[in-house]
Symmetry: C2
């Protein structure tokens, strides 16, 4: 693979001139530039990003550590992140933590070893000092979707969406349909999205004079299996809930499994709703009512915030509202057939 020296020799100039020509440095003659460009073309020269990074101390690469690639919510997020990053001239390396703190640490370590310019993290459960230490050590970090409470002393913007309003809408929707015994399958208490959603749900219930008994709080881990188990426990209760709200899409899927396995039907026997809307919810039987985050916008905003920090500007936290998307899984006041207008 030809190097800058080969180009220089071929163009009859020095390596310095080649470098300048390629980096559109102003002081290089039109003639030299042309010769360099020609040589580059002839040799098929491509600058070595590794060497360049070593010299300039920047890799133009962002790290993205997410908790579960297989979760459609995160794939959509990752896609948006990559697009915006590319538009801004950055590449993205994705690390999949699989909801395991030690894997998250592995990826963070790997990414800082590679000297990425900044880090985008949706932290998993569990105490990992490494992440905060990294931020403290000077690597620009932005949290997206979830965040870690102890981040006050170090400047880490949080880009997330607020589901409070949408949860209120959901509870009102359920209430209107006559449901009174409402349960939730929560995420890990250690994640912010885990605890927040329970709180929002509890508050919304209170506004209707309803309680959230402990028996109606299932402990999940954002994976389908836990959703199924929690739902089975609900169904075993002497007085099972009339509606179940899953704190993410995978657990909702598990819940759907569980009620089906008992020969029960959604929404006739029990209503179901989920946090995180995903394309598949349109096609499930029945289509499930969900709270939709502006996922793409979240990803883009996060990248912009991170790049702002990287390039020396100040970055602010961003909170975008989520909204309720009513389908059929809670009962018949939503759309009964897919509507033409809801086509993409």
């Amino acid at each position: 693979m030809p190097g800058i020296k080969d180009v220089a020799a071929r163009a009859g100039v020095s390596v310095a001139t080649v470098s300048r020509a390629l980096n559109r440095h102003p002081s290089v003659s039109e003639e030299a530039r042309a010769r360099v460009l020609a040589a580059v073309e002839e040799l098929g020269y491509r600058p070595n990003a590794v060497a360049r990074s070593l010299r300039t101390d920047q890799t133009r690469t962002l790290g993205l550590v997410i908790s579960d690639v297989m979760n459609p919510y995160f794939t959509e997020l990752a896609r948006a992140v990559e697009e915006e990053a590319r538009a801004l001239g950055y590449s993205v390396i994705i690390g999949n933590a699989d909801e395991r703190p030690e894997l998250q640490d592995h990826h963070i370590r790997n990414l800082v070893d590679r000297r990425i310019d900044g880090l985008l993290v949706s932290p998993t459960d569990g105490g990992t000092p490494l992440l905060l230490d990294t931020a403290r050590a000077g690597t620009p970090v932005v949290f997206v979707d979830r965040w870690i409470p102890g981040a006050d002393d170090v400047d880490v913007p949080v880009v997330r969406s607020d589901g409070r309003g949408a949860v209120r809408d959901l509870v009102a929707h359920l209430h209107r349909l006559g449901h009174r015994r409402l349960a939730i399958i929560a995420g890990p208490a250690a994640t912010t999205t885990g605890s927040e959603r329970v709180e929002a749900f509890r508050e919304a219930l209170a506004a209707h004079g309803l309680e959230l008994p402990d028996a109606y709080i299932g402990q999940g881990d954002f994976q389908a299996g836990s959703g199924r188990r929690a739902t089975e426990r609900f169904l075993d209760l002497p007085e099972p809930p009339e509606a179940v709200f899953a704190a993410d899409n995978l657990m909702a899927l598990g819940a759907l499994d569980a009620v089906r396995a008992r020969g029960l039907r959604v929404p006739d026997d029990i209503a179901l709703a989920a946090f995180d809307d995903i394309p598949w919810f349109v096609h499930t039987g029945p289509p499930v009512t969900a709270i939709a985050q502006p996922t793409g916008e979240l990803g883009r905003a996060a990248v912009r915030a991170l790049v702002d920090r990287i390039e020396g500007r100040t970055a602010r936290s961003v909170t975008l509202p989520a909204r309720l998307v009513v389908r059929r899984s809670c009962g018949e006041d939503g759309e009964t057939h897919p509507q033409k207008r809801s086509d993409p």
Copy 2:
């Protein structure tokens, strides 16, 4: 961020010794090694992967270019690839080509600029000389899932799955259920998976004495929208097909949309089957019969082949069989309820 020099100073040895201690070079005294390790610990030193790569001319990084991250099939593949790579001591950078040749080229260029050690590609439609040129230029390349025909002169192993047998099973299944007019929604003819699946389908039909008229071949692009459009065209036919086979999961989804939008029902009014099984197909209404590729195994085998090539061993192409998973979308001879045993 401390460098190897700082560690050397702190440990009272030379940088060479530090490097040797860290790379478990045999000839370094127990005492020196201990001092180095202590210094590393105290300073929180992490070796700079960029500098190391420049010197050693290897990045221990693999590039993975796939055609669509949002497609669950590819996310699963990506996940398996990352896992196997990690086990072998490599990192993975994913590039999402979004079924667009120019984006694919962008990523390939970006990856070779970063001097990745090897490239895993599931090529998109369309002639892109860059990919083959890269392979010819010496970068180890392995094709996964799809491949490019002109790759004979250059050593590029192909890791894929053969759906021929499963397609025969599917057609037999459909035939047994009484379906005679069978249609297919094909992928882009330029992709191997696009054309191969049509051929397999046609052959399987022939075995039952059935034809595949042109009107029953829909042209899709592996995206949901094209599946919907193709299905609408089928339904507008004077004699619409009794069963539709979509060549990937996204187009199957589009097909499902289309028949629902007409107020028709699967499988009563029309049967549906898909290539690529994904977790969601269990939960759709109705659960859809699909041909399952051993996706994880494919990803792992591809990584092993690529690493073999990188590390100087010879790599062989791999073909794994796919299998038919019968559910309810073709009619009632499959499982009518989710079975306990099919639980993960």
